[in-house]
Symmetry: C2
């Protein structure tokens, strides 16, 4: 195997940060507060933008830039929006219909609109006003012209690979840094060249393989939850790490009370890759919907349309303290979660040995 | 998280070895030669005994003890032999029948006998003559009386955990050391309290979780293929590592020419957990049988009976250079494989940084 250090700049120098830790963007559970706390503490905070329309994006960026003058990362999804056939919509509703009956709510005739938009020119226009130092993507990359425009103001481009083939594709298509997303990671798999989940690889195996395959720096993600984990990931050849789950109990995260309770319970020990929440495989704590309909449901409607009816079930169940239908995003290692300020947690994660 | 060092003895002191590396027992692809080479070089060589009857076990132990006077490990399976119903046998044959037709061989009326026997009193009697320093198990542990007898001559007992619950069970039931088998590992999952493969965890996440859950020393396994990988695993709190795949191209291994060719090909980049070769989930390079019938076949007959008819297909296909039905065991990180003597490879893996 070969661990490559293609040029001498550290991740800290490249991104103008103090510790080589990126806070993973986590749509739905955090916004500007967590990102700012991490950036102010010397890491790279991330703003998840996949669920923000242009106006909300602008608002959130205004809040973020008011909270920090340090570099931060904005993260977008790059999925190709699927056309959802009436048959697909119906088949997914049929799978969920017992729950609509149980909760005594009406299943809508059609699904609600998509809650996750791919990156586009409108977002680009908003970004141009803020010129973020780092822009990261999930599910590939946007159009070359859009990428060039982001780079025109000096933004560093990151994207997630879940296979060696994806890492090579990202390097060939212009990323500055590849995020090697090991199978342990919480939330959505970044997969964009494969749908075959047997290709997904543990961090211990994946990071050295990606480091050997590409010349750009590699960020390790998945299962890292302590200073020792950070050191281990760097030992494998990565230039830094991306950590998400560990920050979910910080006061700056918007993690819901139900989600927090699950993360602190025995349930956190069993997560699975499941498509039941959105239509794409993502790692969540195994709850009732995952167990009964998933983890990988054949009947699920395409990403992101599957989330529509599930959100109706959530809205009916959650007020009763019921997390049966709540996406309880978590990676396979939640041992690092602590209810302490993010800056303090970042410092613990950065502790040199 | 807590990394525990419950007592000060290193793995080397506990097992009377020089480097904290156990060569993973790999039934079918290695015997006394590889085990002796590793033990002589200061690691802990392992003799896979799951496919040896008492007479073959005795022969192999005689060869091994003639080749080394250093400590070694003998490894056994502890599965509960399943009763295979005629329906299960038939259903598995039906899944395979197109291949019997294609290869123009006759499908037997009944399956051949099991090729993998669980540990029992006959093996114990043989072991008593050799008093191996270390005995390891897969799929749990043998009966308490058998375990006591092994311990009576001072043997250290190891077994594999694939969940935190299994790690705790093994500690409660008397192992001296737990092997934390991350999902990256090649060959059979050691699972014995669960059949749910969504519970299987990447090494980066699993090792710290097991270290936090048990007081006995923990060996990290899965995805480790370099000195950096060894260092990373130790950083996570493990007392040592178990490495298998990396040794498969060594001249001392009995890896077949077809298996060696697959390990050196692009095919090695895609492995999967599959039950098609034996009836239990095991990680193999994805070949035709895995792709077409698996990776996890509902129709498979119980472990180890599924291997019977597959062995007939192998016997017909392999002489023609066809590995369609060959279990091509490999972990998710084969980047460490080198065609050099095992002692030399062990030295590379041990290189301190």
């Amino acid at each position: 195997m070969g661990i490559k250090h293609s040029d001498k700049a550290t991740l800290q120098q490249r991104l103008n940060i103090e510790v080589p830790i990126i806070q993973a963007p986590m749509a739905g559970v955090q916004g500007a507060e967590l990102a700012a706390a991490i950036s102010n503490a010397g890491g790279l905070g991330s703003l998840p933008c996949a669920m923000l329309n242009p106006s909300a994006l602008k608002d959130e960026l205004q809040r973020l830039t008011a909270l920090t003058d340090k570099p931060f990362n904005v993260n977008f999804f790059c999925h190709k929006p699927a056309t959802v056939s009436p048959l697909q919509t119906r088949s997914w509703f049929e799978s969920l219909s017992p729950y609509f009956q149980e909760l005594n709510i009406e299943a809508p005739g059609e699904g609600p609109g998509a809650s996750r938009e791919p990156f586009g020119d409108q977002a680009l226009e908003v970004l141009e006003q803020f010129k973020p130092a780092v822009v990261s993507f999930h599910f590939g990359l946007p159009e070359p012209a859009q990428l060039q425009q982001l780079k025109s103001w000096g933004a560093r481009i990151l994207s997630s690979a879940t296979t060696v083939e994806e890492a090579r594709w990202l390097e060939d298509n212009g990323v500055d840094i590849v995020i090697a997303q090991g199978v342990e990671a919480g939330g959505h798999r970044g997969s964009f060249l494969t749908q075959d989940m047997t290709t997904q690889t543990g961090t211990m195996a994946f990071v050295p393989r990606v480091c050997a395959a590409v010349s750009v720096p590699v960020i390790a993600a998945g299962g890292i939850a302590s200073a020792e984990g950070v050191a281990a990931a760097m030992m494998l050849g990565s230039a830094g790490v991306q950590i998400g789950t560990t920050f979910l109990l910080c006061p700056e995260a918007k993690t819901s009370a139900l989600h927090r309770a699950a993360l602190k319970s025995e349930a956190v020990h069993h997560t699975a890759l499941t498509n039941v929440f959105t239509g794409k495989p993502a790692r969540s704590i195994v709850n009732r919907l995952v167990r009964e309909v998933g983890p990988m449901a054949d009947t699920v409607s395409p990403f992101p349309s599957a989330a529509g009816p599930v959100s109706l079930l959530r809205a009916a169940a959650e007020p009763n303290g019921n997390d049966d239908f709540t996406p309880l995003w978590s990676g396979q290692n939640a041992t690092g979660c602590q209810e302490i300020p993010a800056a303090e947690l970042l410092q613990k994660l950065s502790a040199a040995r």
